[in-house]
């Protein structure tokens, strides 16, 4: 077995040199990409490398480098992996090119749904959607005769029932690590309570009834969580699920496949997916929709862009999807939604539908402010109102510095 793995390793290590196994064409222009490093990107870049002359940089800290690297002339990378959050700086700086002519030339297999259009121009090609939705232990809920929660009040009731029955100590898990994660959790809940993030003049409206309600609901949920929730990121929640320590969580759909991973999970087949719970009666599921996709740099020659786009099309083809069906909720033709996708489908098709995460400069600033100020509320140092006032202050300072507010 060791020998086989060694051989496999040897083959994979040849990425970057000319291996054009299943590629439709032989790429002779050097192409580099910079993207995040999760499983879906590994799958896509592996498929791209089949065309040869391609090297991928998979780096979870790509946000630090991407804007500057695309701003250089010539751009250090031809291909960039982005999401609806991280496309903003590239879009703002004009360092990614419109793809309409390339889509027309090589994009016959793309679905219209995949084309990210800004002002009528295609700026990116999406490959997958991602969202936080409810994952629950089917066996625990049905043992206790509980229905699948559809609102957060249901979640609280179910959590209480599970805790009272003593099935697990901490029925609820949440991605509430301070910083980016807790801010995203707040965004979900705030949107769920019908909150709008900004006024027309770019001032923020988080300090409102929806904001207070969102914080109170989050606090109520923490009663049923492992007290270390402020260090708990997606991986930690996933492990809690896998080790059978929690029964419910609003978790990223990209984590769904891990629940059934025999090597890691003790709860294979027991975790089911459902739509994200709603926060208020008649509201949208309390979550936001995300997409991941690729962009092509503008500071490169047209030949290079041409080659890069062809490589991308090779990476985003149906063969790749068939081989990696469960790694993501693909938007690409050939994807067969399994049970694992049920949560995303239910969330995305709900009426009213949850909003997409807004890709704006203000949102980036607000996200940071929320992530830094919220923990003080959960450690009990500040009231909800004071916390939201502090968020507003922090946002205003940052927005003035960034030139968003006068």
């Amino acid at each position: 077995m060791a020998l086989k793995q060694l051989a496999l390793g040897g083959a994979i290590s040849l990425i970057g040199s000319a291996v054009f196994a299943d590629c439709a064409f032989e790429n002779d222009v050097p192409v580099k990409s910079l993207s995040a490093g999760f499983e879906a990107w590994k799958a896509v870049t592996d498929a791209m490398s089949e065309c040869g002359n391609f090297s991928a940089e998979l780096d979870q800290e790509f946000r630090k480098k991407q804007p500057a690297a695309f701003d250089a002339n010539p751009s250090l990378y031809q291909i960039g992996g982005v999401s609806n959050g991280t496309i903003t700086p590239l879009l703002n700086a004009g360092t990614i090119r419109p793809l309409d002519d390339l889509v027309e030339k090589y994009g016959q297999n793309l679905a219209p749904n995949q084309l990210i259009k800004v002002d009528g121009k295609t700026m990116a090609v999406a490959m997958m959607v991602n969202t936080q939705h409810l994952m629950y232990r089917d066996d625990i809920l049905s043992d206790l005769g509980l229905d699948v929660p559809t609102t957060y009040d249901d979640v609280l009731a179910a959590a209480k029932a599970i805790k009272d029955a003593g099935v697990v100590d901490y029925p609820v898990g949440a991605t509430m690590k301070s910083g980016w994660n807790i801010a995203q959790d707040f965004n979900n809940m705030f949107a769920g309570y019908g909150g709008q993030f900004f006024n027309a003049d770019n001032t923020t409206t988080v300090n409102s009834e929806a904001g207070v309600k969102a914080l109170e609901m989050m606090k109520a949920l923490t009663e049923y969580m492992d007290p270390e929730y402020l260090v708990s990121d997606s991986t930690y929640v996933q492990q809690q699920f896998q080790q059978g320590k929690i029964a419910m969580a609003n978790l990223w759909s990209s984590r769904a496949a891990a629940m059934d991973d025999v090597a890691e999970s003790q709860v294979v087949g027991k975790v089911k997916m459902a739509a994200a719970p709603t926060a208020m009666e008649g509201g949208a599921p309390a979550t936001t929709m995300w997409w991941d996709g690729i962009v092509i740099a503008s500071n490169i020659g047209d030949d290079a862009a041409d080659a890069a786009f062809r490589v991308v099309m090779e990476g985003l083809d149906s063969d790749m999807v068939t081989e990696n069906n469960d790694e993501a909720i693909w938007l690409i033709a050939g994807y067969k939604p399994t049970d694992l996708a049920a949560g995303v489908v239910a969330t995305a098709t709900a009426t009213p539908a949850p909003p997409a995460y807004p890709s704006t400069t203000q949102m980036g600033l607000l996200h940071t402010a929320v992530g830094n100020e919220l923990p003080a509320f959960f450690t009990g140092e500040r009231s909800a109102e004071a916390t939201l006032a502090a968020v507003t202050d922090a946002y205003t300072t940052a927005a003035k510095e960034a030139g968003i507010l006068p």
Binding site: R63, K64, P67, S83, G85, T88, P89, L91, N92, A93, G94, P112, N113, Q114, L115, I116, K117, V118, D119, G120, A126, V129, K177, S178, G179, A200, N202, D226, P227, E228, L230, V231, Y236, M289, S298, I329, L331, V344, A348, T349, A353, A356, S359, T360, T361, Q362, M363, G364, L365, H367, N372, P375, A376, T379, E381, R382, E401, A402, G403, I404
Partner: protein, 341 residues
């Protein structure tokens, strides 16, 4: 030594330091008094993003930077704002407010003061512990059978040489959630314990980690120092009737004094810059350090914004803090310097 010879010797070193440290330092100093922002414009944009099967398009007014037609880069303006970034950082009105109303705790809700509090306590509290533990190990090793010393020194050095990120993670895993040590303590005490749920337990673990990590450095230097203790002085102290403790206090410690100062100097500098320990222990929610604050300002968010001016201001304040802390041990170096010439 002539001036020109000195320059020839130190030239390459000074050049590298000027290029890679002084130049960025000057630019940081400048940036702490300036704000550079893009020229913004409001435009109406239609954005289409994928749902699961269909696309949703929304039209909204967006504030975006203006792009220069000629260079193709974002237009920016740089304005001199004086001490504004420092004011944003220190938030003095809120501090005075807290003092005048007597609610001192409120000061610690401002990021900078929170970071300063932790950094100072972390630095000053671990300093005597590192020196104490280091000295204790050095004395104990010096006491040990000669054949054991090699392996013991080797094991003792491990916490110091291990990559800091990995060292702190190794300890983090022992305690986080139902980590083995936490569950061990739980079994002993019968209580449910969460080490990472409140600030003081995290801080305690961080102190333990820091002492674990730095004490070996102090140890190896003290141990080297102990090899050169003058045996004659020691024996005459015995003849004078000094007991073990008095010999330690009056002969050994004075002999090691320069080393203690050296370690204090290095420790103050390195610990005041604490950063990896915050990342390793994921303590951002409860405690942060000054360098972590600077780093956080500099880390771009999803939209690519970074608070460079405030980061520069906080870096300058960090530096000033270190210089103040170092004045005391450095006065001695100055005296030595005057003494040798």
């Amino acid at each position: 030594m002539k001036f020109r010879t000195l320059v020839a010797f130190v030239g390459p070193s000074v050049f590298m330091m000027l290029l890679f440290i002084a130049a960025p330092l000057v630019s940081v100093l400048m940036q702490s008094f300036q704000v550079t922002q893009p020229v913004m414009q409001q435009i109406e944009v239609e954005t289409c993003t994928p749902g699961f099967l269909t696309q949703t398009c929304i039209t909204e007014t967006k504030t975006v930077p203006l792009i220069d037609e000629e260079t193709g880069k974002t237009q920016t303006t740089t304005t001199w704002v004086g001490l504004q970034s420092y004011r944003n950082l220190l938030q003095m009105p809120r501090v005075w407010d807290a003092i005048s109303t007597g609610q001192w705790g409120n000061i610690l809700q401002i990021d900078f003061w929170k970071a300063l509090r932790f950094t100072l306590v972390f630095t000053l509290l671990t300093l005597p512990m590192v020196i104490g533990v280091g000295l204790a190990i050095a004395l104990a090793v010096n006491n040990a059978v000669r054949s054991l010393r090699g392996p013991v020194i080797f094991i003792s050095l491990l916490p110091f040489i291990i990559t800091p990120v990995i060292g702190s993670l190794a300890i983090y895993w022992l305690f986080v959630g139902d980590g083995i040590i936490t569950s061990l303590i739980e079994r002993w005490t019968g209580n449910d314990i969460a080490m990472f749920a409140q600030a003081w337990t995290i801080e305690l673990l961080m102190y333990v980690y820091q002492v674990w990590h730095v004490a070996p450095f102090a140890f190896v230097i003290f141990y080297a120092g102990l090899q050169t203790v003058n045996m004659d002085t020691l024996e005459s102290a015995v003849i004078d009737g000094a007991n073990r403790w008095e010999r330690l206090r009056h002969v050994i410690i004075p002999h090691l004094m320069p080393l203690i100062i050296f370690i204090a100097l290095i420790h103050l500098m390195d610990t005041y810059r604490a950063f990896e320990v915050i990342v390793g222990f994921r303590s951002q929610a409860h405690v942060i350090s000054l360098q972590w604050l600077t780093y956080d300002f500099l880390t771009p968010d999803d939209a690519g914004n970074r608070a460079i001016s405030r980061a520069s201001a906080s870096a300058m304040l960090t530096m000033i803090g270190i210089v103040v802390l170092l004045i005391l041990p450095l006065r001695r170096t100055w005296r030595d310097h005057k003494g040798t010439t």
